[in-house]
Symmetry: C2
Subunit: 364 residues, 2 copies
């Protein structure tokens, strides 16, 4: 690797070698031939029925509590347009998923960032914020968070749900990375602890393919009906051949083996990123997750973070500006987006990771 | 056929026998295998590049003037959210496509219905409306209109475009039925006469499959860029395998033969509907188009139109309430939605058509 090779540490996308192309091609063909009158027709507004049933089984709910749409961001947009009244607050972790923040704002929310700690959202700061106002909902990525990598502890999961019950707000748990755990044991889903105020969202983008755009949400049936109606008004019917291909993929029992294959592919990259960050950026506060797509660092206050993205570009390192992940960019000490660096590791090789983190260190 | 067989004359959907299932299955498989790193990945926000190129070639524009999304209703929603300022007017034909009217309203428009005549929108009434206000845009279905079946004459096409230039408003021409012409010659597209204020929208729903949800728009590049950015904010990337399958279908030269097959399938149904309406409903003002999915009738003022949908249901005939197609339900004489009946003929057999129209006649 020479210094002139560009190293891209921006979006959390799977690498092409992650896609089970042959298997998916066969699933498309089979799904179309088996059920063309449904798969190629208008309809199935809450999602392709066999896939709803598969997901209902997995999450221990009824099919009426499942809605499948054209990717989870589209569903977040629809849920937001239904739940957010103009001027309402939406609470997010700070930092949080930049596109979610943008969606909530476009749908009329004031986004309030609650600082993220190594074990998830700060309960103390959440309580302070709740004394001021009750949000339309709290948006969390509890497992291997995007962008920081943090995982919400069991104790905090319980406390968040208690607060939701006490103050009366909904919690969106967005869990696209959850199945990509490289060490340790799963913590329970928020919905497994207490589903009453929980909307669970996820997708097959990280487990199969983002281009398929198959995302889903699980919530009480009344909300599913409202969001389904908004979806029908917006896009008439969801795209069905992709949902049918995913249903066929699950029916054939291919998802588990594919997730295992992905873990084998990503584990060395995860280890390389964790090692490089510890070695090269010893002064930074690092989030080293047990799974997912992202390591992240908060650079020390005395680090030279000014125009970091621009200076990185000059030496062939592509970074995402940290401030994009901050719902409250001016919120003070913890909220210094300029010092926050997200380091996605799945779409780069261990060699690229070593070189990339070395370049980052050279700038500070 | 017995009286107890339900006859459904509601939505304009293709029948299952219209779907080229085998060919599409093969196209999915081929498209995935050929280009998985693109088709299964995030990206291609303005639409799958090879399909944009195909469409650009067909419409004589550059690929930068083409945007492909998850069905044309989704694109109408995005265009509306960009073009409609709160309280702005949108002009539509009256009657017009019910879902489009609903979309424009949800995005903040006051919809103003301009009466439809047998040769398209009333120019006189359009001019009167323009003296009062200039709309964000005028929405037209110029070929075999949904719901009435009318086709806009060449003279009126020219005049609409003159008015658009004079007053400064955009015209959306929505042309999903255009290629399904059963007799006569195509009139030029509005964009072929003068593209400067025209947004062309269409889809493959009526030519291939609605479940695929592949719709597109053609407009100047600056608008494409704005709507693409809104699409990226809303659904991140479009669903790509379906777009890639359509591109492969076109590349293999299969669309023309499929359209010919559809015309062979639909022509007897179209003739049956035209004949039955003339014979059974002699007092009604009938729109008999030269193509598309719909015949329609405006019942005479002295016909018994009260609770027509409910009474039809009692004798096994399912109709869409006419008022849904009227942007101005209280607009007066031409706008009497209760007397308007849309009669889609593609998803029913000639026998069902005969029987259905006889049942309708028996109610009046």
């Amino acid at each position: 690797m020479t210094t002139s090779d560009k190293i891209v540490l921006t979006r959390g996308v799977p690498p092409p070698e992650a896609f089970p192309t042959e298997e998916l091609g066969a699933c498309f063909d089979a799904a179309l031939r088996e059920n063309p009158a449904v798969v190629l027709q208008y309809g199935q507004q809450p999602g392709y029925a066999p896939l709803r049933e598969e997901l209902a089984g997995e999450y221990g709910v009824s099919p009426g509590e499942v809605l499948i749409g054209n990717g989870s961001l589209q569903l977040q947009d629809l849920v937001s347009s239904y739940l957010i009244r103009p001027g309402a607050a939406v609470f997010t972790e700070q930092p949080s998923y930049d596109r979610a923040i943008k969606t909530f704002r476009r749908r009329g929310a004031r986004t309030v960032g609650i600082p993220l700690e190594e074990d998830g959202i700060s309960i103390e700061r959440l309580e302070t914020a709740l004394e001021r106002e009750v949000p339309a909902f709290l948006y969390l990525v509890p497992d291997f968070q995007n962008p920081a990598g943090a995982t919400l502890s069991l104790e905090k999961r319980r406390r968040v749900l208690e607060l939701a019950g006490e103050y009366g707000f909904r919690v969106i748990e967005d869990i696209p990375y959850r199945k990509l755990r490289y060490e340790g044991e799963d913590l329970p889903l928020l919905r497994e602890i207490d589903p009453s105020n929980v909307i669970t969202m996820s997708s097959f983008s990280k487990l199969l393919s983002p281009g398929m755009r198959v995302g889903f949400m699980i919530s009480p049936e009344d909300l599913i009906k409202e969001v389904t109606a908004l979806g029908e008004d917006t896009y008439l019917s969801p795209v069905l051949p992709t949902q049918a291909a995913v249903a066929e993929y699950l029916r054939r029992g291919l998802l588990g083996p594919n997730v295992d294959r992905l873990k084998d592919l990503y584990t060395p990259r995860w280890k390389a990123m964790a090692g490089a960050v510890s070695r090269e950026l010893p002064g930074a506060q690092a989030f080293i997750p047990s799974g997912g797509f992202f390591v992240s660092v908060m650079l020390p206050e005395d680090a030279n973070a000014q125009d970091l993205v621009g200076r990185a570009k000059d030496i062939g390192l592509v970074l995402t500006p940290g401030a994009a992940f901050f719902a409250d960019p001016d919120e003070g000490e913890e909220a210094d987006g300029d010092r926050f660096v997200r380091l996605p590791f799945c779409a780069v090789t261990p060699d690229q990771i070593e070189e990339g983190v070395q370049r980052l260190a050279s700038l500070l």
